[in-house]
């Protein structure tokens, strides 16, 4: 369910902590500027990493989900962002407050709209650089090394494993309800859809907590949490390449900060 795309690229071989640093830098830099050119540069860097790491652009991801959200974001800025230079305007009823009887697309709104869409793409695309190029065990190991308590990392892996079980349970429950003549899942309308959720979610949630109750007995009987000193089968260690990439990431971030904050034009 969590997509990992294996590969032999430098991005795949990097220590997850370096990838987290790289993604975090790109994420933070995206908020330090509204200039479309600078944001385009950042997005280009993100896209180059995606292409190099061969993270696939699946159709569902872009066409069905990200593009409508981007369009909505753009339209909000175009029509509602305060601006003085009006490009196109449409009359609307004057009783609608704050609009002065006119819905106007402004130049400032257009530029800000482009910037916000670029920012949206950067924000959404930086996390897969880490999650889609790192095996879950290595990612969790590195998060523990960064200070995440082991118990939380354990909870994360347990939840992911439980997710597959509950996903299968949902399908079983839906089939069981259909056999009993329930047709709510196929019906349209918000109220009918809401009614359709109740017979699915309740049994699945109860199943989840029942499994948790059994698991609690199992982990307590194995003295879970008794000792803070742990070793790992899979260990992550930074090597020379990781340190070099980290150095260039931090240097690049500092240089970008200087340019983005306008200290050098």
């Amino acid at each position: 369910m969590i997509r990992y795309y294996s590969g032999d690229t430098l991005i795949h071989k990097l220590d997850p902590r370096v990838k987290i640093a790289l993604s975090t830098s790109l994420f933070l830099l995206a908020f330090l500027t509204r200039d479309p050119l600078r944001l385009s540069f950042l997005l280009t860097v993100v896209l180059m990493i995606w292409f190099y790491a061969r993270i696939p652009f699946s159709e569902n991801f872009f066409l069905k989900t990200l593009i409508p959200i981007a369009l909505f974001t753009f339209l909000i800025q175009l029509l509602f962002y305060p601006g003085k230079v009006i490009l196109v305007s449409v009359k609307i009823p004057s009783w609608i407050p704050y609009f002065g009887g006119m819905l106007a697309a402004t130049q400032e709104g257009l530029i800000n709209g482009i910037s916000m869409v670029l920012r949206l793409f950067i924000v959404i695309m930086v996390m897969p650089i880490v999650t889609m190029t790192t095996r879950l065990e290595r990612l969790l190991n590195s998060m523990v090394k960064l200070g995440l308590p082991y118990e939380l990392a354990f909870t994360l892996t347990t939840s992911i494993n439980l997710l597959s079980i509950l996903q299968a349970d949902i399908e079983d429950v839906i089939e069981a309800q259909k056999i009993r003549g329930f047709r709510g899942f196929d019906e349209r309308g918000i109220i009918k859809k809401i009614k359709a959720y109740v017979p699915i979610i309740i049994p699945v949630a109860m199943e989840g907590f029942m499994i948790a109750r059994q698991m609690e007995v199992a982990i307590k009987s194995r003295a879970f949490g008794a000792s803070n000193r742990r070793t790992s089968l899979i260990d992550v260690k930074m090597d020379k390449v990781d340190w070099i990439v980290l150095f260039f990431t931090l240097t690049g971030t500092i240089i970008s900060l200087v340019f983005f904050l306008g200290f050098v034009h």
Binding site: F80, P82, R119, V123, M125, V126, M127, S159, I219
Partner: protein, 243 residues
Amino acid sequence: MKLEVPISYVAAGAAIVALASYIPAFPVIGSGATMSAGMFITPLIGILLGPISGMLAAAIGGLIGEFIAPYIAVFGPLTFLLPTTCAFVAGLVAFGRWKEGASAEAILLAVWYILTSIWWQGQEGAEIRWYFPFLHIITLILVIVIGPRISEWIATRDKKKIALGIFLAALAGTISQHLLGNAFFIAMYSGPAKVFAVVLFVYPIERLLAATIATIIGVPLLLGLRKIGMELGPSYKPVSSTF
């Protein structure tokens, strides 16, 4: 950090939140996006597991949801903070810590007023910031006035009282999540003041609906868990589970 429930229950809660985060519930008008079932499941997790355990479950579940479906993470890696806040506040109110719940809501309101005063300076329609969070203020007042009774109601065997308690706790949670999400939208995507003139009429319906659905699911879920010997919610007897 002391959890209210065993850590395995946190894992189960996180899995349920993650699962709910990519089940579409109802469309967001005009956006092309849909709200997920996480909107009404997340406050329930806080109500069942408690503020700390629920907050952790929602945080982990939210993170997993971002791993599975990165296109829902419109606020990037910070997106998981929204369900975390929801479960935390709902859990505080449900578990009798209504003063802390009310304080959390008050802090979020203060953040809203400070942020909009700075960000919307000089913008047409900026005065909407004063009355936009009217439902948030009403919920805050309800939590302050009725707060001491909410956890008692959820712990009873009376279905009507349980429903009322869950509704109020879920409303407090989902409304806190909404305010934080708005703050992120303004800070990250320059959310202009005028767009909130439209949202003003939409969000109360959305949030009241989420709290209602949480109640419709929460009451039979709570009673069903009690029948199989799992007394979750404010009547759960704590076991020693720390990390």
